[in-house]
Symmetry: C2
Subunit: 343 residues, 2 copies
């Protein structure tokens, strides 16, 4: 982990002093971020059109949940930029989810999924959701399979997506299809154009915000292609997070997964793309606005009290991370009708 | 009310015997149905773009419900052709709705709303939903108003939609805006092209189904522009409906509104546009498939046992009532972010 001082020194060492100041700054920024690339397929998780089409249908289908009320899109709504706008999500039968639903947009760019990072990929996350008590709530995959087979049209879609398999309606394949779809949910933003050299894509105040973002040290966690999503960090380095968030409960973070005291209050660092569109903030949705979230992070993690001007310009920079919804998400699919099976 | 014999006689009297059989049949069909017109605005309920834009946002916004989980679009999902695919809908806090959610598509064409017809217009229905215990569940409109005012952006939209009003965030205006939006949710279908003279729009088997639809007598209730939606009728004229639907509870219909024994088991006749896309069927969602719904209606209402061929062709005719989703519904709006207030 680079210290703040290390980052500042690195910038001074690496940036040549003869270039145009604007280009220089771009070179500097380019060391910490990468523009969004269309390539999110991996050898293990390919993106084929038939797979994406199936995944898109499954993503929007509430009939696959225990009581028919929960689809992936219930907590990841297009109208709300892939969130549900709730502090903490709600699953079947009004069961409370212990944490906030992060946006599904660009989620595939992260090194692991969930606030605890206890899902290895979007595929793993999607597959396990079907049996999550506070999400889809199904007792077993056999009941999901029965629901899928009851809808005329799905079996054909599975056969097309997994042509070499004899019985492709499996939990793993549902995860693969939804994951393939989610790998297409990328939102190129003005900041990406900026990183590619179009310096006009950011306003002067947004560039000032980017400068603050680098100099204050936010980038030490929120860098890379997703501006985060690449590591675990303790939330509340300099003081207990709940002193500032006002959280009603204390969440022990990855400690709950590993039982390692070093993981107390450790969470996956969230990516910041579209952050302006996805309040409320943090693992428990305890903070309502972006300026407040920025202030609080600087205080908790770096021990800095930001000026209003710093917060203002950083908000403008973060606004420049908002991209357009991909067409396959902005427009929900028409699902094959029928087949709901009462529990 | 025309008797079946009356309808058959009327057809024989009104249709001239010298024209081409195809045209003749079209003339006959044109006496019972009207093609979809774009005009659903009324003097009382106009459609202005600012009104529709506001209504579209409110329609998709779950933050306006008591617990933040219910929007109009939760029970009227674009992916499911304006329904939720449940036998009976579910509102805030998992509260069961006593009846099935009919599609919102073409709903404005009906003479009244809800299965009991106890809502006078789409505007009336939408406005009252905010306080419905099994829908949005808000205790009063003051709490809805607070939720609306907490979202930066909504007040400006209300000001644009109701420019002459000083304090436009009212329950009635929410209803007017959502209603104006819903009046745009029309789905022209192949049957409309047929009625306008393009006889190629229906397949031969669909025309056979239309013939059955007229001759069996379905049209006596399911006529007009909405193929229904224009009157109340008893469900189960010749025998108790629950003998055939297998309903787990007996719903007394409009009797529950009027206390008039003549209204026992009386419901608003649903419109049939997009019926193929909106199972399960009837006020309690007790029947899963369209063929079964057709068989059962002929038996219950007209006392006829249909042949498999009759059912088959009628399904094809009803398939021709499926239209394309309007763009303003197929693509959910991006909502202004933020502002959710915990209850």
């Amino acid at each position: 982990m680079l210290t703040l001082l290390g980052i500042v020194l690195l910038i001074h060492i690496l940036v040549p002093s003869s270039a145009h100041p604007e280009d220089l700054f771009l070179v500097k920024a380019g060391r910490f971020f990468q523009p969004l690339s269309a390539e999110t397929a991996t050898q293990e998780f390919p993106i084929a059109p038939e797979l994406v089409e199936l995944g898109r249908a499954l993503f929007f289908d509430p009939r696959l949940s225990f009581d028919g009320t929960v689809s992936c899109s219930r907590c990841h709504q297009p109208s709300l930029y892939g969130t549900d706008a709730l502090p903490k999500s709600v699953g079947v039968e009004n069961r409370p989810n212990p944490r906030n639903a992060p946006t599904i947009l660009n989620a595939a760019l992260q090194f692991s999924l969930h606030w605890y990072g206890d899902r290895t990929s979007v595929e793993d996350q999607a597959a396990k959701s079907f049996l999550g008590p506070a999400s889809f709530g199904n007792p077993d995959f056999a009941s999901v399979k029965a629901k899928i087979k009851a809808v005329t049209g799905y079996e054909e879609m599975f056969a097309k997506a997994f042509p070499s398999e004899k019985d492709p309606v499996t939990q793993q394949n549902c995860g693969k299809a939804i994951g393939a779809y989610e790998r297409t949910l990328l939102t190129p933003s003005p900041f990406d154009s900026y990183l590619r050299g179009d310096t006009k894509s950011l306003s002067a105040v947004a560039v000032a915000g980017l400068t603050e973002f680098l100099e204050v040290g936010c980038v030490s966690c929120h860098g890379g292609i997703a501006l985060g999503g690449g590591e675990f960090r303790k939330f509340g380095i300099l003081r207990d997070y709940w002193e500032l968030t006002g959280s009603s409960e204390v969440d022990k973070g990855r400690f709950n997964v590993t039982n390692d005291p070093a993981d107390l209050y450790v969470f996956k660092v969230p990516g910041l793309r579209n952050v302006s569109m996805t309040p409320p903030y943090f693992h428990d949705g305890s903070v309502a606005t972006l300026p407040q979230a920025i202030r609080l992070m600087a205080d908790l993690q770096i021990g800095k009290k930001l000026s209003e001007q710093q917060v203002h310009s950083m908000v403008h920079f973060l606004d420049a991370l908002t991209g357009k919804l991909p067409a396959g998400y902005a427009v929900p699919p028409t699902l094959p009708p029928g087949g709901f099976q009462a529990r």
